[in-house]
Symmetry: C2
Amino acid sequence: MLALTGTLTGTLTTSQKRSDDMALKKQITIDQVAQQAGVSTQTVSRVLNNRPDVAASTRQRIQEIIRQLGYQPSAIARGLTRRRNHSLGVIVTELEQYGPMRRLLGIKEAATAAGYSLHLGFMEHPESDDVQALLNDLLSWQVEGIIWTAPEVGNNWSALENNMPPVPVILISERADSRLAAVALDNRWGARSATEHLLEQGYKNIGIITGPLAWDVAHERYQGWQSALLEVHERQVVAGDWSATSGERGLRQLIEQYPEMDAVFACNDQMALGAIHAANEMGLQVPRHLGVVGFDNRPESAYYCPPLTTVQHPLMEQGKLAVHKLLEMIETHQQTTRIIPSEGTVLKPRLIIRKSSVEN
Amino acid sequence: MLALTGTLTGTLTTSQKRSDDMALKKQITIDQVAQQAGVSTQTVSRVLNNRPDVAASTRQRIQEIIRQLGYQPSAIARGLTRRRNHSLGVIVTELEQYGPMRRLLGIKEAATAAGYSLHLGFMEHPESDDVQALLNDLLSWQVEGIIWTAPEVGNNWSALENNMPPVPVILISERADSRLAAVALDNRWGARSATEHLLEQGYKNIGIITGPLAWDVAHERYQGWQSALLEVHERQVVAGDWSATSGERGLRQLIEQYPEMDAVFACNDQMALGAIHAANEMGLQVPRHLGVVGFDNRPESAYYCPPLTTVQHPLMEQGKLAVHKLLEMIETHQQTTRIIPSEGTVLKPRLIIRKSSVEN
DNA sequence: GTGAAAGCGCTAACAC
DNA sequence: GTGTTAGCGCTTTCAC
């Protein structure tokens, strides 16, 4: 484990060696370019920023020198004066999960396309981490806006509402009724349609393997499932942790406590995979004896045995949309206002029907 | 699509509205803190940096004011003077793949633990993107070192060797014999042991579904497979693209062109899943008629049917190790030297044996 | 213990 | 067209 914290003062450790064949290149600055070209730094700056008022010959000469020197303007210094550095902050968690990852990819794509770079703030423990510290870190990099794509759990972003950062914030939400400027995915609706599909297929007793219920996303899916049924009993519910392992364990437990179960809604594809696996091992045929539906539509879920019926949601699109809305807010100097549910965009998932829930 | 490129000059678009209830908070600076406290900025700076030579009472007073104002020092301005901003650059691709993602998680964890933040540079098209531009972008953020974890394809980092950046670079490599300061994973060795395992199980005719062979990682696995066999024929090889779909297609094609095949090495778990699926559909029992081995050991591969024999490799560890080595280089002012294969760390994968390759 | 001055690399606002 | 001046927010001298 490296202990870097102490070295901030600048004193270097004792064992410093330096490869002899390669002196430390100093950074090339605008001054050097200006000097070489025999002009002022200002003129160089004009060339860098494609300003019109530079003589063509001067411009060419300067560009040539820039190339020769391999000069690269410092985004940092530039940002300091411009008060704008074309970067966005993203607060993320659980990147090992499918949803967060896909969203980040969408964010990245849209940001790159718009010429923005990304600062990531990782929230390790959504339920306990100090939100303010994370925000401050991002703000200290002068990000122009912030995308919040960490799970809404407990009151971890009530802090946000009380102490709004000086830049626009957009929230990526898992629920249709979110309270900050948000791009939301209607998980509840998706879960409901998955459950209704099972009912339509003639299944009568539908269990559920949920995600960790403290998370909004898990809670919403749970609610969606519940809303499709007339009444539900505790026996029908088991909590998983998104992993295939917990899906397997979950199914076994459900069978035990709810023997009449003939279908299960697993709240993501991995848990569905675990459930199918357990069913196979116990000699229950899917979908004959047990209907199974998942959530996510990972590319591989079409190749499970049997192929998995699941809910597809536009994750990358959500990420992209969030960037677009955020940039719009930035451009119009719009601050994040408190309660704008109607302005928020709500994306709907889509049910993908495969063999795991359709007999024959 | 937002067109931001034109707004750099500062002129804002016409439709700018501003929410009335919330004026734009200006950033709080060190000067304001100093003024409030009735001291010089210098003294505040000393407090911020935990310098000893400040009167205890002064320090307390200043800290109090900092808290009240919610002052947050600007990492940007600080970095500009210190010439050090505690950030690392990471060049990544293909984050939707399991390997790259896991490595990034490892990198993130180690960097966070050491108090470093990360700048991501995304390489969209490893085979064609302008490497220099990506590097320049990272350098313009004054990153103190760079982790290169994009696939080695074609000559995309030969540019690196010719034009070494002014900061240390560490390469995350897929081959044991990499030429720059590297933390490598011995893919060839892993693939070889997977293939040898199949031979030991009595399989005689072993096909392969490779990844895109232009990538080092795919090529290395191919080589490992080949090295375990006495001689190989073109018929035994099909190229996939890492997706389950390509695995399914690949198996069908192999069966056709290499009918005596009794086992297949799929170069990642997803393709293995696709292959198993195809086999099931064609009435071939796994592992009875066809042995299958994958590569990656994703958490869910234990739940395929049958559970997948596969090669596990320490991806997160590789990422962490890369950070640690890079920080070490930074601390010792060590530049990346050209050829140091022996100094590079080589991690070995490990075969995980499950039912897909073991009859009974 | 504390402050004044200079400067990090760049750009905005004005001059000429 | 081009140069000068000032300043972004902070830290590093070096005074006192």
